[in-house]
């Protein structure tokens, strides 16, 4: 177990280093100059040179990348103009465009995505596993077909369409909820949940289809196995057979996929954040890419990479815990 975790840790460090290098290279291959954007359209060449110097983009690419790495590990002092502020490790630098420390920007936005990921995951698992089981118990019958049709329709709906439908339905037609406006959990838990309910539903309804299919297939496969037939022959109650044995057969796959999906939402759910006006990482990534804000994009890429590595590791550990045949 410890060897496994150490191996994963080393692998993750290598992946993140490669990601950072790739992000730097991609940005310098792409058109657009962050200094030009920061300086404005009416910027002369002299002013542009001054701004490039202030941003540090006048340095060679390799030097900039090295500075980024040393800043990440050791911290760095940044001039704000009248004074210098110290950015402690792990320091991801200073945003070119919004003039604030990147680490602070990420720390402010990560709770939004954590809230979004955990809440929606709970819902999509509940809906997905529930409907999958519901369908699997009567395969080929009307309820199986109806369930499949419904979840397939929901799963085929783009998340921004689902978001608009939910907003219209809940906030305009029925007026049972206000338009979402993110409230941190620490400020007011009830408001936090109320304002995130629609975003959770939007992601969950679209994502649940995959879990329905996984659960249905897993349960059906297990129910057709010899040991289930034996249990039935011994007269075990059907409810116990389904809940203790059949569902368990489907769980390892469901949990593995869920862990990875949670990692993806944690790394930023752009459409959901945009439609519900949630200030998360996904929206920040898109906006920063469009303004060539390299430190922010690099910071988000590293964080997203780290979250996905953690999610994958968690998936492996959970899979092993649920399925004794798997050893790590």
């Amino acid at each position: 177990m410890i060897r496994f975790l150490l191996r994963r840790l080393l692998g993750a460090a290598a992946v993140l280093l490669a990601l950072a290098a790739l992000t730097y290279l991609l940005f310098y291959a792409m058109p657009g100059d962050p200094a030009q954007l920061a300086c404005g359209k009416s910027c002369t060449s002299d002013q542009l040179a001054q701004v490039r110097h202030a941003l540090g983009t006048d340095q060679p690419l390799a030097r900039q990348f090295w500075t980024f790495l040393t800043t990440l590990v050791l911290g760095h002092g940044f001039s704000t103009g009248p004074s210098t502020v110290w950015c402690s490790a792990p320091c991801l630098g200073y945003s070119y465009q919004s003039n604030e420390p990147v680490t602070q920007m990420l720390v402010e936005r990560l709770p939004v995505d954590v809230s979004l990921a955990l809440g929606s995951a709970a819902l999509w698992l509940l809906i997905g596993v529930g409907t999958g089981l519901f369908a699997a118990l009567r395969p080929g019958r009307w309820r199986d077909r109806v369930t499949n049709t419904v979840v397939l329709t929901l799963g085929s709906t783009p998340v921004f369409v689902m978001a608009l439908l939910l907003l219209m339905g809940a906030c305009v037609w029925l007026q049972v909820l206000p338009f979402p406006n993110y409230v941190p959990l620490t400020d007011d838990p009830a408001q936090w949940a109320q304002n995130l309910l629609l975003p959770w539903l939007a992601i969950a309804l679209v994502s649940a289809a995959g879990y329905t299919r996984l659960t249905r297939a897993g349960v059906l496969e297990t129910l057709n196995q010899d040991h289930i037939r034996t249990l039935r022959a011994y007269g075990y109650p059907e409810r116990r057979i389904v809940l203790r044995h059949a569902v368990r057969g489907a769980l390892p796959t469901v949990v593995t996929v869920a862990a990875m999906d949670i990692g993806m939402v944690l790394a930023g759910a752009v459409f959901t954040e945009t439609m519900f006006g949630l200030p998360g990482l996904g929206k920040l990534a898109v906006e920063s890419a469009s303004t060539v804000d390299l430190p922010v994009v690099c910071g988000i890429t590293l964080l997203a990479g780290a979250l996905i590595v953690v999610a994958n590791t968690a998936a492996d550990l959970l899979h092993a815990a649920l399925d004794p045949r798997v050893r790590i």
Partner: protein, 572 residues
């Protein structure tokens, strides 16, 4: 000089929070709002105004970095400036009036020295008095490379401005061309005559900044307010809460009514959601407006069909021209006959349709658009009619030695909703009828200005736009047609690269005029004169429609910027 609307697109706060970007204007000058009670300025205080904005890349509120027109929308609630725009609907809203200063400035005889005296009793939100040194420091720090992004005029106009790099760093010097002989007097020494200086003095760079509270790059999150509101809470990209500044008083500020007790701004919302919330006007959204999201064509059609909603729509125009820019240094546009051929071939009806129809765009044959009323003069030297005159264009091309037509690249900004692919495609189709083949050259927003505004990389033909930083012909025409404004290292807007010493001298002469109306007449005449040279093909100006919540009162689009003057809006 002027500001291209595009700048506002990436000067974060300008987009969302200043509303200085593009679009609407006070054409109608009408007041919106569904509430039936009459508005009373004397009794409008109270309540919470909600602002729903899309504001993508909010840079915060550093008055040095903001690029606004007339001080913007929300920044004008936080910052008072030497002068400001007159807060009234209609054409009077284009007038400049005193703000911190007692008048709009006393010019020297040739308008190269401008003197201002501050009103008595002015205070920052922390209770400290506002002095001329604070205004000087505010202007000086806008020269710092760390705080780049503001308008370029100060660097160009002030003596020594071109080499000054702000008050930070080892030198720590001040700018000698700004003198403060006493705590209430400030004098600006310009290197050339600028009759429009009072209009520039309405920009946020003229807001006072107390040196002791300056935190440089970090000042944008918590600036010291001099306006009627101060920041109670601000999370970039999420929300901004404004509360009253106890040290502000209507007795020293005749322009801002500051009716609501609180202003809650939600940032980063989807435009579709903003318009849905404003139209449904449910709960607290009845007290809502937006400072950056107009109605698109389909939504406008739906809203217009509903009489109740239609009452809450205000439309108008912002003085901004969408046009084709020729590069006269590149063949075939060094030949006026070819430029005239394109002027005849253009189909303005197709362009207006590409923009979403006549409710959203109006054809224009003049560079200075009709919405810049004072500096506008009608002319149509190359009458293309509503849908173009391809035959005349072919004839001119043949005369120019291109009987088989021409093939030219057309650069455009893919991220610009107004001058993007739909308009470029409409042009391509219209020009094809005249034997002009356009090879579309799409450029991303991040790449557009670097390519187009640098003469070495500038394409032969560009689809672009130009808007007014303040309502005057000077900032509209000077950067585009003054040969001395050609900047080789980037930031060049004289895309024709046209340099006629006689025109340059004419510009200097008009800049000496400090009488607004007289100067505008001269600018209008200069525009008509330049129009005959076919240096550009004016295409259309945009109209904008914006919704308000049903309880909002006295919400009108000011004609200076073409957006709500949030300082006069009431929810009581």
């Amino acid at each position: 000089m002027l500001r291209p609307a595009r700048i506002a697109l990436f000067t974060a706060a300008s987009v969302a929070l200043t509303g200085s970007l593009a679009a609407c204007g006070a054409g109608s000058g009408s007041s919106a709002g569904g509430s039936s009670d009459a508005f009373s300025a004397a009794n409008c205080q109270g309540g919470t105004l909600r602002v729903l904005d899309s504001a993508k890349n909010s840079k915060g509120f550093d008055p040095a970095v903001l690029y606004t027109s007339g001080g913007g929308a929300i920044p004008r609630l936080l910052f008072r400036t030497l002068t400001t725009r007159q807060s009234v609907p209609g054409v009077d809203g284009t007038k400049v009036v005193p703000d911190l200063a007692t008048d709009t400035g006393k010019p020297s005889e040739n308008a190269t020295v401008w003197t201002y005296h501050l009103k008595a009793g002015l205070k920052f939100a922390d209770g400290t008095p506002i002095t001329s040194a604070d205004v000087k420091y505010g202007v000086e720090r806008s020269f710092s490379p760390q705080l780049a992004g503001g308008p370029p005029y100060l660097r160009d106009w002030l003596v020594g401005g071109a080499d000054y790099q702000g008050p930070y760093g080892s030198g720590n010097t001040d700018l000698a061309s700004i003198a403060t002989p006493d705590a209430s007097t400030i004098v600006f020494h310009l290197r050339k005559s600028e009759g429009d200086f009072p209009y520039l003095a309405a920009e946020t760079q003229f807001a006072p900044v107390p040196k002791a509270k300056d935190t440089g790059k970090e000042y944008n999150a918590d600036p010291v307010s001099s306006g009627p509101y101060t920041i109670a809470g601000f999370t970039k990209g999420r929300e901004l809460d404004l509360v009253r500044n106890p040290y502000w008083s209507r007795s020293t500020d005749q322009q801002r009514l500051a009716c609501p007790d609180r202003i809650d701004v939600s940032l980063g919302l989807s435009p579709a959601v903003i318009n849905q919330r404003l139209s449904s006007s449910v709960g607290q959204d009845a007290n809502a407006i937006t400072t950056d999201t107009s109605l698109d064509a389909p939504t406008l059609a739906r809203v217009s069909a509903d009489p109740a909603l239609k009452k809450r729509v205000v439309t108008g125009k912002f003085p901004q021209i969408y046009y084709l820019a020729f590069n006269l240094k590149k063949a075939p546009f060094d030949n006026q006959l070819v430029r005239e051929a394109l002027s005849y071939a253009v189909d303005r009806t197709a362009l207006v349709n590409a923009e979403g129809g006549t409710q959203l765009a109006v054809p224009s044959t003049t560079f200075t658009p009709e919405s810049l009323t004072a500096a506008h003069q009608d002319y149509d030297d190359f009458p293309a009619g509503a849908t173009g005159n391809p035959e005349k264009a072919k004839q001119l091309l043949a005369q120019a030695g291109h009987p088989n037509g021409i093939t030219v690249p057309l650069a455009y900004d893919t991220d610009d909703t107004s001058t993007g692919a739909p308009a470029a495609t409409a042009l391509q189709q219209a020009f094809a009828k005249a034997g002009i083949t356009l090879q579309l050259q799409p450029l991303s927003d991040a790449d557009f200005s670097g390519t187009v505004n640098t003469p070495a990389t500038q394409p032969a033909l560009t689809l672009t736009s130009w808007g007014a930083d303040w309502p005057s012909g000077g900032p509209f025409l000077t950067p585009i047609f003054d040969g001395r404004q050609i900047v080789t290292g980037g930031g060049n807007f004289n895309l024709a690269q046209y340099n006629d010493p006689a025109v340059n001298a004419q510009i200097d002469k008009i800049n000496q005029i400090t009488d607004y109306a007289a100067a505008q007449k001269q600018w209008a005449a200069l525009d008509a004169q330049l129009g005959k040279l076919a240096l550009t093909v004016p295409l259309y100006e945009e109209a904008t429609s914006v919704l308000t919540g049903s309880h909002v009162k006295n919400a009108y689009l000011d004609q200076w910027r073409g957006w709500y003057d949030i300082a006069t809006v009431s929810v009581k």
